[in-house]
């Protein structure tokens, strides 16, 4: 996962979430959590960014704009999906007005634009704690190891 040796600059994009996740992102940027000490900086254009902070379940209305923003980020790009809405659709997964999160977005991206999935870190939570977000970014930077794993238990 460690594709960034230097500071990452992030572009924050709400794709139709309820704003709680966005508030937590702001939290992370305040002096209280202060991610700028790791060189993470919020920028105003996706063209200046290394990573895209996505929140929200991707509404149908915003889909073309999300794709535009995603394509504008120069390679190698990273997507940091924040909140259950983005990681799996959340409680809006089957709503008429959303496409249902990141996996569907990647499907559209692949089928209609021929763009492969960018490397992605997913941070579930509704909303995730600021510390969860910092942990997710640390995972993206290869500083920490992933804690959760897929398991299957077969019982009688």
């Amino acid at each position: 996962m460690n594709i960034y040796k230097k500071s990452i600059w992030v572009f924050h994009l709400n794709t139709g979430g309820c704003n709680s996740c966005d508030i937590e992102i702001l939290d992370v940027l305040t002096p209280y959590h202060d991610v700028e000490r790791f060189g993470i900086k919020l920028v105003a254009s996706p063209r200046h960014a290394d990573a895209l902070l996505l929140t929200g379940p991707v509404t149908k209305e915003i889909l073309p704009k999300v794709i535009d923003a995603l394509l504008a980020v120069p390679e190698p790009k990273l997507v940091i999906a924040i909140g259950s809405c983005t990681t799996g659709g959340g409680i809006w997964y089957d709503t008429y007005s959303t496409i249902g999160g990141l996996n569907e977005l990647y499907k559209v991206l692949k089928e209609e634009y021929g763009v492969p999935e960018p490397s992605t870190v997913k941070i579930p939570g509704c909303p995730p704690k600021p510390e969860s977000i910092i942990y997710g970014i640390a995972l993206a930077l290869g500083v920490v190891q992933q804690k959760v794993t897929t398991t299957t238990a077969r019982v009688e």
């Binding site: 959590h33 000490r37 799996g88 579930p124 897929t150």
Partner: protein
């Protein structure tokens, strides 16, 4: 002048930044983090899947291979804790784990074996669930719990027909 007073305030407050990644943080009591499923306790009743709002828990009944799969998908979970509230055997614990970032997909599944109907030999329910329910029933109600709903319907109708004496 006013700016100087800001500096004074800032100096008084001092450093507020948390040391988080280099230091553990305590989460408050009642914090809802990762739900953990105890495969030893789960009876496969599917109550958790019923109440799960974002469908993070899915039930797949595999009648060919003979097991019920209770599938928890981390990416969809909103950590509401309803599943733990309804679980009749307290198989779900809401932990305080919040460091949940992942790549790819994370799915925790429990696969519980089905049992077969003693009459037709088809898989029909999970034995653990049946045992749990049986332990709450009296002997009269226990009659016919080891046959599948189809066979039970058939035998009920047969006995009705028999009792009515129409077809003799």
């Amino acid at each position: 002048m006013s700016r100087l007073s800001w500096i004074k305030t800032a100096l008084e407050v001092g450093v507020v930044t948390k040391k988080y990644p280099f230091e553990r943080v305590e989460v408050p009591d009642g914090f809802r983090g990762l739900p953990i499923f105890d495969s030893g306790k789960c009876i496969g009743c599917t109550a958790c899947a019923n109440v799960c709002t974002p469908d993070a828990i899915k039930v797949v009944n595999d009648f060919t291979n003979g097991f019920r799969r209770i599938e928890y998908r981390l990416g969809k979970c909103i950590f509401c804790g309803r599943c733990a509230d309804v679980c009749p055997v307290s198989a779900i614990t809401i932990t305080k784990e919040f460091e949940l970032a992942y790549t790819g997909d994370v799915i925790n599944a429990i696969e519980i074996k089905f049992i077969k109907c003693v009459q037709c030999g088809q898989y029909y329910t999970v034995s653990r669930h049946l045992k749990h329910v049986s332990s709450k029933l009296n002997d009269e109600a226990l009659e016919g719990v080891d046959i599948c709903p189809d066979c039970r319907r058939r035998s009920n109708i047969n006995s009705l027909i028999h009792a009515s004496g129409v077809f003799r």
